[in-house]
Amino acid sequence: MSAITVPISETPRAWTLPYRGKVGMACLIIAESAIFTIFVVAYLFYVGKSLTGPTPREVLETPIFYTICLLSSSLTIHFAGRLLERGRRGAFLLLWFLTIALGAVFLYGTAQEWHRLIYERGLTISTNLFGTTYYSLVGLHAFHVTAGLIMLSIVLLFGLAGRVGAEQSARVDVLSLYWHFVDAVWVVVFTVVYVLGR
């Protein structure tokens, strides 16, 4: 007696399915989008409902420079991925490092803004509804930038050790998908907090 095996009638001509890493990351992005949506909804719902000051109009300054930094890091990581695909590892590492640097500059910008708001303007997370929603929405995004920077740095370390080559480019692309998502979320957060919310 032998185990039943399903007949191999005719192997379908080409059987290629999407790369699982990309599918997994796409799902994670969908889930994360839902989390951000809830925070954005809460932010918009509470705009102008604070019972005490300070208000966004009084204290917020639009972080144009840092926004440009973060958004351009999407470009650098994209081209880094293409360079890796073609096996140009040195150029890849340079652009990858540039991506991390731009992300770090953005994070520094957020830190500086928070420092100014807390110590000069006296706005903390418990001051009023604006403080609660502002720090949690921007903080949630900053947390995702931080997580992204840690993962990017791990790839950089592996790259410096000579372990990242063209054969890893599909995996590296999964990470850059995440980074693009973090940038796209910033566009939404920026619009909500610094444009609509004022």
Binding site: V6, C27, S126
Partner: protein, 557 residues
Amino acid sequence: MSSDVLVIQTAEAAGRPWVEALHEWVTTVDHKRLGILYILYALVFLVVGGIEATIMRIQLIRPHNDFVSPQVFNRMFTMHGTTMIFFVAMPIMFGFANYLVPLMIGARDMAFPRLNAFSFWLTAFGGLLLYFSFLGGSGLYGAGNAPDVGWWAYAPLASRAFSPGHSSDYWTIALLASGFGSIGTSINIIATIISMRCPGMKLSRMPLLAWLNLVMSGMVLLAITPLSAAQLMLLVDRYLGGHFFDTQAGGSATLWMHFFWIFGHPEVYVLIIPCFAFASEIIPVFSRKPIFGYPVMVGATVCIAFVSMSVWAHHMFTIGMNSYANSFFTITTMAVGVPTGIKIFNWLGTMWGGKIQFKTPMLFCIGFLFQFLIAGLTGIMLASSPFDWQLSGSYFVVAHFHYVIVGGILFALFGAFYYWYPKITGRMLSEGLGRLHFWLFLIGFHVTFDLMHIPGLLGMPRRVYTYEPGRGWDTLNLLVTIGAFVQGIAILVFVANLVISYFKGAKAGNDPWDAWTLEWSVSSPPPAYNFASIPVVASRRPLWDLKHPEDPDSRYE
């Protein structure tokens, strides 16, 4: 051949010290073992949640009973609801999905085995955290142990002022942890189904179980995450002095309700869609016919998923929304009945004209069909907002959703246990004990939950720890409690069946039900690698093609 290999493995396992076997189970990344862990873990919590329900029913057996204090009663209904939804129903669905999906689509494992293990342990420790609240919940405040704010944890009940101590924090963090676990597993299921199908397994040939779990996982991504976000906000409120749900500082208690029910209603479909999946696999096999209307079944499921995302506020008719919102949510809620009705007719169409075999899995599926229909009908009643204004927060609602969860979900689950137990353990469950379990549970279920509608209609509110005599509720509550005990006995029969059959059951062989999907082509239990060579399929019923080479399905599809 593969069964020989298996015998050798078991012989090895018997000779090993138990610590080593335990170590293997704890560190496993095999989808079958993780599936079994999920299921066993959920069964333990099923018993725990059942005991909590029994305590509540004993308290309500007669008016002015003092079996437990009001405080304990509050903890019991909070823990019962939270346990049953998050630590019984969700893990058990993920357990079956984990075990079956790779086998049914011809894959050797899930797409991300380590993420799979990580998600399971997150869920497992979430449950432990929730129950640790009995020990650590009161903190330094002496403020009562387990969470007692209801499984909705409505604001401002869950705020620091009204819920001192740590009980609500255990609830929040336990749900956050298990929520991340659920998201991880869902990502895994979707990636497995999209990227790991065997050659020839087009989406249009996939077993309905895989299709429906794909839809369920997509819903988890969109429905569990709002709850996680709301839990994060609650933590900000409780620990950092935030004001999200603090009405004293302009915050809104209604916002919490919206966020909770944006999760809460789709959650019902997250749980019922895998049960649709079980029914869609079991009913055709025991009717000896292929499923009726396969593409329509898939379409109706996707349709349910979409519509169910926009019905949440029917849980909130009594808070005073405007008439447009009331009408919108009434209409969308009733609209869910359409694709659901299509599914019920398709199952009936599958049975129509078939050679129906009334084995235990089929009995449970037929019970599921009837009871789910009735649950749907009371659902339509509650969907109309004026009717809901009268009965919201009454035992009618409790009876309605237990009809869905016990009469629908649990019955289909029992069917799945009887159907796939032979595959998982290699032994058949006893038919005799199975029938006893079915009839006892059916009688207990109907005595409890049919009768529970009536005190609701007579005005008995839910979550009360006792009631006045002479309102016409006394006899009914007594009968409801008796029914609960009959269900308890039925569960004991089930557990006894699981244990006895594991050691004494008849050998199952590869394919005891003469079924058609790929999991029955391998030995029972399947080898660690599932398939010695990856199968190639040409139709929706690959084993039918194999058994009937003269008339394969692939000729017609």
